[in-house]
Symmetry: C2
Amino acid sequence: MNTKLQWLRNKMSSLDLQGLILTNPTNIRYLTNIEAEGILLLTRKENIYITDARYIEHVHSTLTLFDEIIVYDLHDVSKEDYENFFLFCENVGFEEYDVSYAKYKEYIRKFKIHNFVETEHMIEKQRMIKDAEEIAQIEKACDITDNCFSYILSYIKPGMTEKQIANEIDEYFKQRTDGIAFETIVASGENTSKPHAVPTERKIQNKDIITIDMGCRVNGYCSDMTRTIFVGEVPEQIKPIYDLVLKNQTQTEEQYKDGASTRLLTKMVENDFKLHGYDLVHSLGHGVGLEIHEAPYISYSSDTQLRENMVVTNEPGIYIPGKFGIRIEDTIQITKFGCISLTKSEKNYIII
Amino acid sequence: MNTKLQWLRNKMSSLDLQGLILTNPTNIRYLTNIEAEGILLLTRKENIYITDARYIEHVHSTLTLFDEIIVYDLHDVSKEDYENFFLFCENVGFEEYDVSYAKYKEYIRKFKIHNFVETEHMIEKQRMIKDAEEIAQIEKACDITDNCFSYILSYIKPGMTEKQIANEIDEYFKQRTDGIAFETIVASGENTSKPHAVPTERKIQNKDIITIDMGCRVNGYCSDMTRTIFVGEVPEQIKPIYDLVLKNQTQTEEQYKDGASTRLLTKMVENDFKLHGYDLVHSLGHGVGLEIHEAPYISYSSDTQLRENMVVTNEPGIYIPGKFGIRIEDTIQITKFGCISLTKSEKNYIII
């Protein structure tokens, strides 16, 4: 059995689960490499993946004998099969954040489940800590993101639209990776005041400020980087805010290490922003892996300790509604005594 | 209040719901045009959208006074607010196919809900019937899809990879629409035997068969079309299967009209395929709208009657594992006495 499934079997034992139904596609991808529509069952003795005819060929070509997963076509699974999968299982786990209320009721009926147990993100928690292979993929995605950024700096000219620049980034990633990890943000002028701006037909002008938030995907694993850059010059009224964001981004990076509290990290930035009259309107960071946003979430509302080989973003931002916004973001690997910034693009004033 | 929300208020009355929590983003988009992360509450007197700081500006710029929706920042909603939203509401509806089991429990606690009622896809059912404005968007998306297909026929040359062709399609859509409606499929040779193939680095060769499944999105609304084409010539062993698929696609189109049973339509194709020794491995079609796959689902397992102004696909396919596959698909508007194929590309042998 592969090492991730073996870990899960041990976890099940420790939780007194005799069976498990997994439905979250990212968790299934993590455990099996399968990218399809289907569910993964861990019964007393077997690992079973149920999918439909559309994916059967693909699933077979993904799995190796080593995975020890039996693949079923949905249409070949009888009522009796469903009732037998978890026969004599006292406790069967499920993913309560993924299973809809309707499915929850359906599973209990269909599988004749005795005691259906919430598993409290146990796989997401395990996914927070990346192994060497996972980090290698993220590193690769971050390298390509840095290269793309340096290419795009030479590409941007006044008169181009935000959309045109975003398309060029997407195309760059498409040619070198599995593609974008999320919708690329290119926001200019007053559009930068929206943290989640969507690229528009607005044309880049002289003295503009531009926020670029981008990332790609390599073998499923994501990168995430934001830089705020300037056309021609850095406007005087923007400088102190840029400096404040950068100072906090740098200080946060100095604090990112095994054992650091995500709540304290957030509080530190929030306090400094408030001291200057600004708010931290979004979280300070998030985990990056098979999903662009995944645990741990670095914000005031959750308290997690950073751990060695977590990969997280560090992205303080200040937004003045209707005027402009500044965000600087890196993807960062936590180490025992500090961290490594996996995206390495320039963070001081970038003037094009 | 906008007409869609007005419809929903009437529906609530008829179901004796005094409150409603909507979480499905597509349903919220349908009712309000909002594309963000948030939830829509219909309380006794008000329509409330709760989102977070990232989306506030965008949501305000989307809504008009006419919508009569009050927007809250998540962080400004207190424990008491939550408890007051549905005060004196006997029955509050929720979307049981969208709300996870964990959220279901959280909502009951947070909103102090007395009787939490499953709403059985009531909005998805309403979304099946398109109004004139929605059909106009889908028509536009289908037109551009036809134009893209005719462009791509002149673009494809032996030696190009599947990925290269898929990228060209994506770029074509990107320049003219909101982008692709789903991951474009370009499958060649034996790869066509996978209904959900992902474009590879395989190079197009002479005598190849190529399946192209593509669609774009215009103001949120999708198009969906598949054609199977040939390079140089139509191989003799493929002809009878192509003819069989095309015959069934044409006969189905003749049967698509107000009142037709989706189960009978499917059975008709399935029988004819079986008579020739083949299976219908996926459904015959699906609704197309704000989602690329939505109700109604045209398959043996569900029985719906087609209705005027539904927009659905018609896509029979035959797949010989490891060898090749044929699928021909149009996006179709159902009318009172027949239907209109909104995608209009050639369906007879296309040889490039």
